[in-house]
Point group: C2
Amino acid sequence: MRRLAIALVHHPVLDGTGAIVTTAVTNLDVHDLARSARSYGCTDYFVAHPIAAQRELVQRILSHWTEGSSGRRIPDRREALTVLRIVDSLTAAVEALGGREAVEIWVTAARALGPALAFGDARGRLEGEGKAVLLVFGTGWGLAPSVLADADALLEPIRAATTDYNHLSVRAACAIALDRLRGAR
Amino acid sequence: MRRLAIALVHHPVLDGTGAIVTTAVTNLDVHDLARSARSYGCTDYFVAHPIAAQRELVQRILSHWTEGSSGRRIPDRREALTVLRIVDSLTAAVEALGGREAVEIWVTAARALGPALAFGDARGRLEGEGKAVLLVFGTGWGLAPSVLADADALLEPIRAATTDYNHLSVRAACAIALDRLRGAR
């Protein structure tokens, strides 16, 4: 079974007009993705933000749950946050996993942006042996084209069987993606 | 295909010691579960809270997205929130769906609490004809025993294939449950 890590990217991502922006950290993204990552056996959850003050905010949230009173109150939460790694860029996350040659980057998007890897096939690939896989999620309106261009695979968009409407939060999309890739079947 | 609705219950739920409590509303629960519900074709997302001031808070969040500037900025978000219904209890949610005889109540729990309905079987039941199904999620440490006792089915706990650790947020658990029940396969 291959090593699986996730990354949440705050730059470069798109805004609603298609411009490339940097988004602010959302408190619950820190907890929720850590909890999902830990529950599905990911070794790392990288929060990537280029602004030092925003990385310090994430560090404060982390400390609250690992060293503060809330960590004592909810030990399972503390356990989840052990997978959190704070980095300044997606490149730094890749370096932490051994460098670009050691990692397969799988990107996600809410819309169909090109030839995509089906979740069933991706699940099979993860069960075999091979490079570590870094599953990348964008904030805002999604990952910038430069991130997509450097990826080894684009996962298919998440869709319901019953409707074409899709406006999932990144917290929901990450949970569903991990369950499709590693949920008990 | 049967009608599917979800409910998020703030009372009666358990705290970390097993006592029955009322939890506070979490802002992002309002958006995230609405977005997941709408994306998976649920007709209704009931937020159940016994305290009027907390229901008014949910109404203010709803109005912000449906009538305020944010609704104009993100029309998909406004669309998601059209499924939101604010009620004072789970009983009121059941009444809104036609009353106890017209509804099957399916409850969820993070732990194995008894004989459970497997997601695959539940998915099949939803594809057929029958009563409306109300899928119920608890806040805090989960639904109180009285809610479980009145249910028609308990869904199996969500588990990964790779680990027994489970500490998903309700936002993640709801998204995964809906994807297992109604995701494209």
